[in-house]
């Protein structure tokens, strides 16, 4: 169990770093979606299903969609 | 009942792993979509229903979850495949048939 959690934390940090270094903004948005996805699993393992549900319902769809709409209205390259 | 559930869940987990392996190994977007749609839909269906069989009280709720996955997963993958076809992501060099291009030519000649 603890090995799986350690692995998930390192995947989360690596995707956050990928969101930092990528030039294309769409890649950064996809990586931040992955961060939100794994954070919901961590909330779940910390016995907080209410918070996990909020993070899933907001981070999965709405944040990605809002970022994508904004990138369409502005420009895509950093 | 418990052992039937374990076996079904094991089959589902193996399918999930194979789908992810396909995501990593296959050469281009469209091939990866094959692995990402079919394998993981079947795998997650088996995994979730297997958990429901292991714990018979949970069965109906797990069935609802898997039905929702069966409904939603193909839609998103279809949208992704169509979008990458429209923006012109290239096919793998070794691919032998391109039905979408043939269909476009057929429609232009109509």
């Amino acid at each position: 169990m603890i090995f799986v959690i350690t692995f998930l934390v390192f995947v989360m940090l690596a995707s956050a770093i990928f969101a930092c270094i990528s030039i294309d903004l769409l890649n950064a948005v996809i990586a931040s979606g992955l961060v939100s996805l794994i954070t919901a699993i961590l909330f779940y393992t910390l016995q907080a299903p209410d918070v996990a549900m909020a993070e899933a319902s907001i981070g999965a769809a709405l944040v990605t969609a809002i970022f994508v709409i904004t990138i369409r209205r502005t420009e895509r390259k950093e | 009942m418990y052992f039937i559930g374990i076996i079904i869940t094991g089959i589902g987990v193996i399918f999930l792993f194979l789908g992810s392996l396909g995501i990593w190994r296959l050469p281009d977007v469209y091939n990866r979509l094959q692995a990402g749609t079919k394998c993981t839909t079947l795998g997650s269906f088996f995994t979730i229903v297997g958990v429901g069989i292991m714990e018979p009280e949970w069965f109906w709720k797990t069935l609802i979850i898997s039905i929702f996955i069966l409904l939603t997963n193909p839609i998103s993958n279809h949208a992704l495949g169509r979008a990458s076809r429209k923006i012109g992501v290239k096919l793998y060099d070794g691919s032998v048939v391109d039905k979408s291009k043939e269909f476009d030519e057929y429609r232009e000649n109509l």
């Binding site: 299903p49 209410d50 996990a52 549900m53 909020a54 319902s57 907001i58 769809a61 709405l62 969609a65 809002i66 709409i69 904004t70 209205r73 | 409904l71 939603t72 839609i75 279809h78 949208a79 169509r82 429209k86």
Partner: protein
């Protein structure tokens, strides 16, 4: 140069923060107020989910402030985006028939699921905030799939105002009946059934409508006005 300075600053900050946070132990119960809520929550509020009773009953005032912040955020977004002059109409690709049919098919189910989440907020994980976000996702899906369909803004504003009004009215009637704001004046019922918890399900329905209407309004403004 900028990156080096940033990394040095981060190291100093991380040293300070880690030296202060290392006094906090991991995995031990720390606060007494949480214990009190867990031990007395079911008798005092009637809700099975203690998080719900903390959000709506013990700390209901905070939730009112939070809903106000959300409302101000939506108003500010509307005010900023309304000053943008529209440029030439962009040509948009229509969605494929599979996508639009799927969205039309799934839309009522997602609405139903959202209302299940905020009706069962006091029995299972979930509640008004999550249910509102799910309902807003249903409207977002409608915008993505079938582009020509728009929401009726006037009805959404009515739903949002009604949600806020019901919250404040229930709080004030609690003030009249029992002496403080958000007093639980309705009968509590047997814990674990749908009709229990006094005022908690009613306020969660109001919050669900309010949050759903607000986030849908945000998406509508972002999609349409710019």
């Amino acid at each position: 140069m900028r990156k080096i300075i940033a990394i040095i600053l981060l190291f100093i900050l991380s040293f300070a923060v880690l030296s202060s946070i290392s006094k906090i132990p991991f995995g031990i119960s720390k606060t007494k107020v949480g214990k009190y809520y867990i031990n007395n929550g079911i008798e005092q509020t009637g809700a099975v989910n203690i998080v719900t009773s903390v959000v709506l009953n013990y700390r209901g005032m905070d939730t009112l402030g939070e809903v106000t912040v959300l409302f101000i955020g939506a108003i500010g977004l509307m005010a900023i985006l309304s000053t943008i002059t529209r440029k030439t109409e962009k040509k948009l690709t229509p969605s494929s028939s599979i996508l639009s049919t799927g969205c039309k098919f799934l839309f009522p189910f997602i609405l139903l699921f959202g209302s299940y989440i905020f009706l069962n907020g006091h029995l299972s994980p979930g509640g008004g905030f999550q249910g509102g976000a799910i309902i807003a996702s249903a409207f977002l899906l409608k915008y993505l799939g079938c582009y020509e369909k728009r929401i009726n803004e006037k009805k959404f504003k009515v739903a949002e105002s009604l949600g806020g009004l019901v919250f404040i009215l229930i709080g004030i009637s609690g003030l009249i009946a029992g002496g403080y704001f958000l007093f639980n004046f309705l009968p509590k019922g047997t814990a674990g059934t749908l009709l229990s918890g006094g005022i908690i399900p009613i306020i969660y329905i109001a919050i669900g409508f309010k949050v759903g209407a607000e986030i849908s309004g945000i998406i509508d403004n972002l999609m349409e006005e710019s």
